[in-house]
Symmetry: C2
Subunit: 417 residues, 2 copies
C-alpha cells in the first residue's frame, strides 16, 4: 500500500461534471489499495472572479483581505470533491489549510509554507478516508489566512506529499508532461519522460509554466518524486498505464550525462529590466540596491554586475513585469541619496530565453552555439547570465518566439536523444 | 463612545456597488466616534449558487462538507467589505467565524453558538479598527467549520453584540421594520416603532421572517437591544435620524400594557401537521413520540394533545413542511411497535395564523374575537394553541391570506394605538 498525493488544477475542477471525473480517477487509485490525499485548485475562473470583485472595490486591495477572499475558491473545491467521492461510496473529508494546519509566514499573497502538521491527515488515512486539502493557502502564527500566490496549489501538493512522506506526488494538469519547449511556440517540441530536479527547476523558473517554481524547490528539498501528467485522459484508463504517463521529475543519478546535453528551451515573456548606472564599486553595493527590493517581497531573477571602470560600475537585474513600477518606486526611495547612481533606467519590453540541460557543463560549445544561432537571426542580446545547467539571455520581447524556435532547431530537440 | 454591531443581509451585500454603500454607512457611524463591528451575510444568491453546485454532485450532500462549502459565501463578503472600508481610508480587518472564535456545537447546517472569544475583537476596536466578522458560521471543538442554518447571520450578529456587551445591535434589512403583519398580504399593515422581546419572539417564530427566531432568543437571553431597520435608505442620511428608524426590540418594562392589546398578525405558510391517533394516555407518551423527532434535529412547533377517551388520546404537532417526509420516516421507525398507535396521519397543505400581543392576557375577548372573525369568513380551524401573548390556529393553506387580512382588520391594526 502506497501513500500518493494527487493535485488537480482549476481546469480539471472547472465544473461539477469535471469534479465527478476527478472523483472517479481518485477512487480508482484508492480502490487499488493506495492511501490518497488530494490537493485541488479552485474551479477555473473562480480566483479571477474573486480578484475581479476586489478590484471593483479598490485597485490595490489590502493583501491580508485579498487572501481572506481568494482562499475561498479552494475551499469550495475541496468540499465539492469530497461530496463527489462520497457519492461514489468513498469515505472522504475535506480540510482548509488552517485546519490541517499548513503553517506559513505572514507574507500575504505570497506566503511560504513553514510546517505541516500531519497528525489529523494520518489518522483519517488510517481510517480508510480519502483526505482532500485546499491548495494555495495556509495560516500564519496569528491565525490569519494566507495564500501562496498564483500556482501555489502545486507547492501545497508537494509540501503535503513531503510532510506525509508520500511515495509520489502526481500533478494532474492540462498538459501531458514537460516538453523541450512550449509546443505552442515550437510545434515539434517533444515530451520528456524524465527530467532531473535541477533541470526542472530551471525550466520552471524560466517560465515553462508547467509547475510553479516553489513546488519544484520543495520537491528538490525533500527529494519528493513528482510526476506531471494529463488530467484530460479517460479517468478509468488502467492505473498501470496512468502511473507511467507524463514526465517524472527524478532524483536518481543520471547515468547518461554525456548524451543528454540540452533538455529544453525555457522562456519567460513578462520580464522587466532595471539598470542602476554609475554606482561606486565597493562592498555592500549589491545589498544596498537589492535589499530594499527583497524587503518589498519583489522577486529578482537575473542579476548582472559588470567589471567596474574608474571605480564605478553598472548594476542590472530583472523583475516580473508586473512588479516593475513598484520596484522603481522602491529604488527611488532607497537608493538615491545613499549610493548616488548616475541614473536608474529600465525597460519593460524584454523577455528571457534559456537553454537548459544537466549535460551542459561538459560541452563547452553550447554557449557559442546559442550565441551564434541568435546572431544568425539578427537578435541582439541585452544581458547574459549562466549557471551550471543553463544559459539565459535577455532579448527584445518581439524576438522571443523566433529565438525559441531557432534554438530548439539548432539543438535538435525535436529528435529523441 | 458606544460599541455598535451592524448586520447587513445578502441584498445589501449583493454587488460591489452595494458593498461600497454599506461601507459608507458603516464609516458614518465610525466617524461619529462609535466602535463598530459588522456582521454581513453572503452576497445575495451566493449561498444558493453554492448549494446548487453541491446538489449537482449529489442530492443529499454530507452536512459537514455542505458547511465547508456554504461558509465561503460570508468569507467573500467580509473580505470585500473590509476592502471597501479601507478604500474610504478606514482601518478594517475581517475574520471568519473560526478566527474570532465563534464556538458552536457540531450539528452541521444547524449548529448553535456556544461561546465567543472577544479578546481579538476588543483589541482591534481599541486600536481604532472596524471589525468585520462572518455571519452564519462558527467552528466546533474539533476545528470543523459549522453553519447556523438559513438566517443564521442575524443570530451571529446578536451573539457577537452580546459577547461584546454592545449598546445596540442594528439589523439592516430590505424591510424598514416590523409590521403588524406582512404588508404584501395586508396593504395597510403598519410599522411598529417598538415591540417587546416576547412579542418579537412570537412574531419571528410564527413566520414574520424579519428576524431569525434564534437571533431573537439570543437578544432575549442577553437583553440585547436590537433594532431592525432599512438598508435601502441613502447611506449618508443623518445618523440621528437613522438611529431612531425601524423597529426596536425593547427590554424596557412596557408602561402602557393596558392599551397595547394586539401587536400584529403573524403567519407561517409552509407548515405540515402530523397526528398520531389512538395512543395510550400514560406518562412518557409525548416524549416517546417527540424525542426521536428532536433527535433528528427536526423543529417541532405546535404540539396539541386532547383529552383522552377510554384511555386513548390523539397527539398532534406541526413541523416545517420541508421536514414532513423525514418526520414521517422517523415516526415510522420509532413509534410503531413501541406505543402501537391506531394510525399516523398527516397534512402538508396547512398554514398557521397567530394573533400576537403582550396585552392579550388582560383582555379575555381576544380569543373569541379571533374565532368569530374566522368563522365569519367560513374558515375552519384545525388546531388551536395558545401562549401568554399569542393565539395560533392551523388552517387550510388556501385561506391563509384571507385569514390574515380579516384579523388585521378586525383588530384595527391599521390604526396607531
Amino acid at each position: 500500500m502506497a501513500l500518493i498525493v494527487h493535485k488537480y488544477g482549476g481546469t480539471s475542477m472547472g465544473s461539477t461534471e469535471r469534479i465527478r471525473n476527478v472523483a472517479r480517477r481518485v477512487a480508482k487509485w484508492h480502490d487499488a489499495g493506495n492511501q490518497i490525499v488530494v490537493v485541488p485548485s479552485a474551479m477555473s475562473g473562480e480566483t479571477n472572479r474573486l480578484i475581479g470583485l476586489a478590484k471593483e472595490i479598490m485597485p490595490q486591495p489590502d493583501p491580508r483581505e485579498l487572501d481572506m477572499l481568494a482562499s475561498t475558491g479552494e475551499q469550495v473545491s475541496v468540499a465539492l470533491l469530497s461530496m463527489a467521492l462520497q457519492a461514489l461510496g468513498k469515505q472522504a473529508v475535506s480540510y482548509a489549510g488552517w485546519q490541517v494546519a499548513i503553517k506559513t509566514d505572514s507574507a500575504f499573497t505570497k506566503a511560504r509554507i513553514q510546517s505541516i502538521d500531519d497528525a489529523k491527515v494520518r489518522k483519517d488515512l488510517e481510517a480508510g478516508k480519502i483526505v482532500i486539502i485546499t491548495g494555495f493557502q495556509g495560516v500564519d502564527n496569528d491565525g490569519n489566512i494566507t495564500t501562496l500566490g498564483r500556482g501555489g496549489s502545486d507547492t501545497s501538493a508537494v509540501a503535503v506529499a513531503a510532510a506525509l512522506k508520500a511515495q509520489e506526488c502526481l500533478i494532474y494538469t492540462d498538459v501531458d508532461g514537460v516538453y523541450t519547449t512550449d509546443p505552442r511556440v515550437v510545434s515539434d517540441a517533444r515530451r520528456l519522460d524524465k527530467v532531473t530536479f535541477e533541470e526542472m527547476l530551471e525550466m520552471a523558473s524560466l517560465g515553462s509554466k508547467v509547475l510553479q517554481i516553489r513546488s519544484v524547490e520543495f520537491a528538490g528539498n525533500y527529494r519528493m518524486p513528482t510526476r506531471v501528467l494529463s488530467s484530460l485522459t479517460d479517468p478509468m484508463i488502467p492505473l498501470e498505464e496512468e502511473a507511467k504517463s507524463g514526465t517524472l521529475i527524478s532524483f536518481e543519478e543520471d547515468t547518461n550525462m554525456e548524451q543528454a546535453t540540452i533538455t529544453g528551451i525555457a522562456f519567460s515573456r513578462d520580464e522587466a529590466k532595471i539598470t542602476v548606472l554609475g554606482v561606486p564599486d565597493k562592498p555592500g553595493i549589491a545589498y544596498q540596491i537589492l535589499g530594499p527590493v527583497a524587503d518589498a517581497n519583489i522577486e529578482v531573477d537575473m542579476i548582472i554586475q559588470n567589471q567596474s571602470v574608474e571605480g564605478k560600475t553598472d548594476f542590472s537585474f530583472t523583475v516580473p513585469r508586473g512588479d516593475y513600477a513598484r520596484t522603481m518606486d522602491v529604488l527611488e526611495k532607497s537608493v538615491k541619496g545613499h549610493i548616488t547612481p548616475t541614473s536608474i533606467v529600465g525597460d519593460t519590453k524584454v523577455s528571457k530565453v534559456s537553454v537548459v540541460g544537466v549535460g551542459m557543463r561538459s560541452h563547452v560549445g553550447i554557449a557559442s552555439q546559442m550565441f551564434r544561432t541568435l546572431a544568425e537571426e539578427g537578435i541582439n542580446i541585452q544581458l547574459i547570465s549562466t549557471s551550471e545547467i543553463k544559459i539565459s539571455v535577455l532579448i527584445d520581447e518581439k524576438y522571443m518566439e523566433l529565438a525559441v524556435r531557432a534554438l530548439h532547431k539548432a539543438f535538435d530537440l525535436e529528435k529523441a536523444n
